[in-house]
């Protein structure tokens, strides 16, 4: 299957890679156990930075869409189809919305929420 990246798109390149691989898994174009090119090969073929492709692969591996089997290479995960349907970004947005709604309901101001969120993200005041 062919991957097409648009470097002028507002969507980051690594996200475009992730989206296309997940889309291909969902459509059945990429089935479980299918071998993927190495980071170096894909980066060189697309003229991208190796770190960009590595980031996409890392995030796909975290989401259990792909798996790395040592020197044998990278493959589509057995549960890739189910895992590709999970949109972590949407889940984060909905969870945060719920939390913010609860906090506002308790009388916490937006400014206090922002400061607390920043502190938590920076591992302070935990």
């Amino acid at each position: 299957m062919e991957i097409v990246i648009d470097t002028s798109d507002s969507v980051p390149v690594f996200a475009q890679l992730i989206n296309q691989i997940k889309k291909a898994v969902l459509s059945g174009e990429l089935s479980a156990g299918t071998a993927l090119p190495s980071i170096r090969q894909l980066a060189n073929d697309m003229g991208l930075n190796h770190n960009t492709v590595a980031k996409a692969y890392r995030l796909l591996e975290r989401d259990a869409v792909i798996e790395t089997k040592g020197y044998r290479g990278t493959f589509i995960h057995q549960d890739a189809k189910a895992n590709s349907a999970v949109d972590l970004n949407a889940w984060v947005t909905s969870t945060l919305s719920e939390t913010i709604k609860t906090l506002r309901g308790s009388g916490v101001t937006d400014s206090e929420i922002r400061i607390a969120f920043g502190n938590v993200m920076n591992n302070r005041d935990q």
Binding site: I3, I5, P37, G47
Partner: protein, 272 residues
């Protein structure tokens, strides 16, 4: 002189094959590509004005004509001089081959420059790639790789065997070092072609696969040929048949050039 007739015939073949036959074939293909894919219809294939390529073509032809004349003059001297039978022809074969290979190297450097300019001129923001891993055995059979490995280990065994006889001319382990270095070089070229950056930004995936297949097969062939050639040189020397070494060397260079230029003609002109 009759002892050298075989060498003269093989050397003439080297002159004609490398400095006449292949350049002629190459120039014909270049002209064909210019005529079939003219700059007016395919401007992206010509990052420089057409005059630049025509000049490069002329230079390539003139250089080869000069090398051809040098070779024929050298052969005339060999045939005309009665003392030539006493000369070590091996000292002429290698330097002359290097001279013969110079126009090809020049063309290779130009092609690197050409691809660099092509990539620089490519303003597309979309990038495409096949999501398919490339593996060595996609391009060559395991039998051929096995054969190359077998030849290499047979060569090491031969060197270890010859070492027992303490020949004064024998380089010993340096033979293994040299052949190993050559094989590492061939392997590096394969790796660079398989996993390195795509030279031609407009090359289709199927064309690249075809090109890779040629390069991999060529490098494996060259590895077998180089190892066999060094083994043959050692065997000829140990059998006190060193007179045949220049002939073997010339034949080896012709074989090597045929393998190299077969790929070269195909790839570079296919894409031009």
């Amino acid at each position: 002189m009759p002892d050298n007739i075989l060498f003269y015939a093989v050397f003439l073949s080297q002159i004609l094959l490398i400095s006449f036959y292949f350049p002629r074939k190459m120039l014909k293909r270049i002209s064909y590509v210019f005529a079939t894919y003219p700059p007016s219809q395919y401007p992206r294939l010509y990052p420089e004005p057409i005059g630049y390529y025509e000049k490069a073509q002329r230079n390539y032809r003139n250089l080869n004509v000069a090398v051809l004349l040098v070779g024929l003059s050298l052969l005339a001297v060999f045939l005309g001089d009665s003392r030539s039978g006493e000369w070590d022809m091996g000292t002429f074969v290698f330097p002359y081959f290097m001279i013969q290979f110079f126009p090809v190297m020049l063309l290779e450097i130009r092609s690197f420059k050409y691809y660099r300019l092509m990539r620089k001129a490519d303003s597309r923001t979309t990038r495409k790639a096949e999501l398919q891993p490339r593996r060595l055995f996609d391009f060559i059979s395991p039998t051929m790789i096995g054969l190359a490995v077998l030849v290499y280990f047979a060569f090491i065994a031969l060197i270890l065997y010859i070492r027992q006889f303490d020949f004064p001319w024998f380089g010993g382990y340096w033979n293994i070092v040299g052949v190993t270095a050559a094989n590492v070089f061939f392997a590096a070229i394969v790796a660079w072609n398989m996993y390195g950056k795509k030279q031609d930004p407009y090359q289709a995936y199927e064309d690249r696969k075809r090109q890779l297949e040629l390069v991999v097969q060529q490098m494996v062939f060259m590895s077998i040929a180089a190892t066999t050639f060094v083994a043959l040189e050692v065997i000829l020397a140990s059998l006190d048949m060193r007179d045949l070494q220049p002939t073997a060397m010339s034949l080896y260079f012709q074989l090597l050039t045929s393998a190299f230029l077969r790929e070269y003609c195909y790839i570079h002109l296919y894409e031009t």
